[in-house]
Amino acid sequence: MFSLESITNSIQTWLNNTFNPTIALLFECVIVGVLVISLFAVLGLVLVLMERKVSAYMQIRLGPNRVGPGGSLQTVADTLKLVVKEGLTPDGADKFLFNLAPFLVIIISMLVLAPIPFAKNFQILDINIGVLYVSAVSSVSVIGILMAGWASNNKYSLLGAMRSGAQIVSYELSAGLAVLSIVVLTGSLQLSDIIASQQNGWWIFKGHIPVIISFVIFIIAVTAETNRAPFDLAEAESELTAGFHTEYSGMKFALFFLAEYVNIFIVCSIGAILFLGGWMPLHIGNWNGFNHVMDYIPSSVWFIGKVFFLIFVIMWFRWTFPRLRIDQLLNLEWKYLLPISMLNLLLTTLITIMGWHF
């Protein structure tokens, strides 16, 4: 059957048969690089358009509808416009750090893409510490944000960066604890193992109430970690103009913007992998007919569908909840989410040891 796995395998065998191993590896590197860059560009274009369209329909308006059919090329036009905008560096800014910050943010979000399985047996690096790798690498991105705010020589930027730092590091804890409850259930940090353990049902169905609680905590925490509304204090437009990227313009601003959307994609795919079974199709008990029909949908479609569903949920939050104040935000994390997720982790462990899950 047509699948991404067979395409990659045939490319690899063709390369190995045609060239000597070194050149074949070099070609593979080039292919991976080109694919990742195009994934980045496509994700940016699609997610920005989706954000605008979803926002528009939630406010009963049409959204962008002039450029291209149904407004589908609007983001391309916006990107072209950003390319020809002047990239200003304010006086008194630390030029080196100011220019380094967008690079750092982009590098981090590209590195986190490595262990994500996009389809069956289709991932760049099947690392055996996948979950730890993702949480470790993605937490470096806060340094990029702090760097941008600190180097800008602007009060809004500094305040936005500080808020963002406090917020991201706080919510990382409960996101980490929520992720750990799945690691406890599967006993493996490898993302492909975690997906394989959901062969007979996704964790959100198999794991009873504790997994549902950790799923909810995970979604709240990653919404805060990616600086999305209602936790978008770092760039609260009405208070701080644009937060840590106030002074960025032109292409450097576009890079921050892009990294933000790619980060949303990454956290949603981690959520889909851990709780919703990654590329596993939906199977219900012994409804064999139904299960067979579900098996015919390609694994990549399942994965992308789940991820975009979670992205839609996060966009939905933006138009449902009003923005929190900074003290409310930190209270929510330290006084509610952190104790709850700790107790939840212990409860999950108890369930795992006693074998009370399906």
Partner: protein
């Protein structure tokens, strides 16, 4: 492909970001003047230095975060093996979390979690 892919991804990211910025630099002929270089403060002339004092709360939260982040790192290897070890691991981690939680309660009692 193995771990070499991480180097490939880093290079791809640098090429992507650097390429974009280079193209923009090539296309744009900017000019520079005194007003353009000022920090943006919604149009009014910028006032004072941005290196002000800010709330100590950020610092306190970062400190408490450090404790719990180290705890989280210890929890990762525990989470992998807890299924095999069983009840003993659960009891041990309850003691570990209890001690940490006492520290957290102490910080809370001292008002470290209160936003001034």
């Amino acid at each position: 492909m193995g771990s070499a892919s991480l180097i490939v991804l880093t290079i791809a990211a640098i090429v992507f970001a650097g390429g974009g910025i280079a193209v923009a630099k090539f296309l744009v002929k900017g000019s520079k003047n005194a007003v353009k270089g000022q920090a943006y403060e919604c149009g009014i002339p910028s006032e004072g230095s941005p290196w002000n004092q800010f709330n100590i709360g950020y610092y306190l939260f970062a400190l408490i975060f450090l404790i719990f982040d180290v705890e989280l790192v210890f929890l990762y290897p525990w989470a992998v093996v807890v299924k095999q070890i069983g009840m003993a691991a659960l009891v041990e981690i309850i003691i570990f979390l209890f001690i940490l939680f006492m520290g957290f309660l102490y910080a809370h009692k001292q008002g470290a979690l209160k936003w001034m």
